[in-house]
């Protein structure tokens, strides 16, 4: 089976991997860490759009999303950007939990699995 790996980062990971009928993104974070959680979510999701496009798929085919928040109380603010992004006719399954991030300035990190 062919495995496509794209956007390697610092020798540690690929930002997106396609295998079989699925595409797996790395945990995506915002570039601009001065943004609030809503803004960071918007940036993380925009990067996910790019990664999905690299593998020939898009947000309408996302089957599962994992969302990590630095503080679970940020969930409502994150959800605003989530709702603005998500394809309302094609909602993925999702889990959203609080976790300590690689950088304390990261407020949100999102990884998705999409069909292709």
């Amino acid at each position: 089976m062919r495995i496509d790996r794209h956007e390697p980062e610092a020798g540690v990971l690929s930002n997106v991997v396609g295998a079989g009928g699925f595409v797996y993104t790395a945990g995506s974070v915002a570039d601009n860490l001065d943004l609030d959680v809503e803004g960071q979510t918007r940036e993380a999701l925009a990067y996910i759009d790019q990664m999905l496009a690299r593998c020939g798929t898009d947000k309408s085919k996302v089957v599962f999303a994992t969302i990590w928040l630095a503080d679970i109380r940020l969930r409502d603010a994150m959800n605003k950007a989530w709702l603005a992004w998500v394809d309302k006719g094609n909602l993925p399954a999702r889990a959203c939990i609080e976790a300590k991030m690689a950088n304390p300035a990261y407020l949100v990190e999102i990884a998705v699995v999409a069909a292709r």
Partner: protein, 115 residues
């Protein structure tokens, strides 16, 4: 390829089928007043229902992620987990501590199953 999505809320689908696999959302207990063991039991019953809706069952689960709000709840959760699996057809599994959406929720479980 068809993707089937079931039980949508405003923000997510409870379970999604695609390419021979089934993905459940992170499932939590309806009755959050129960202890972690009781919450786990409720969750696994819901997961059974969702898998059935997609034409599969617990014998075909390939991966499970379990979040507990305090890692010391692991033993209580495992009592129900072991009762549910019966020690058969065991999936890959990860269990970690994480703060959940509602402070009364002590367990959340998401699974991937083959069809």
């Amino acid at each position: 390829m068809t993707i089937k999505r079931h039980e949508p809320s405003q923000i997510l689908s409870k379970v999604v089928e695609a390419n021979g696999f089934v993905f459940t959302a992170g499932i939590t207990a309806d009755d959050a007043s129960q202890n972690p063991q009781g919450q786990t039991k409720q969750i696994l019953t819901t997961i059974d229902k969702l898998l059935k809706m997609c034409g599969t069952d617990k014998s075909k689960v390939v991966s499970a992620t379990i979040w507990v709000s305090d890692i010391r709840f692991r033993d209580q959760m495992n009592i129900e987990w072991n009762a549910w699996t019966g020690g058969k057809d065991l999936p890959g599994r990860a269990c970690i501590e994480a703060k959940l959406a509602d402070p009364r929720l002590t367990v959340e479980i998401s699974v991937i199953a083959a069809k």
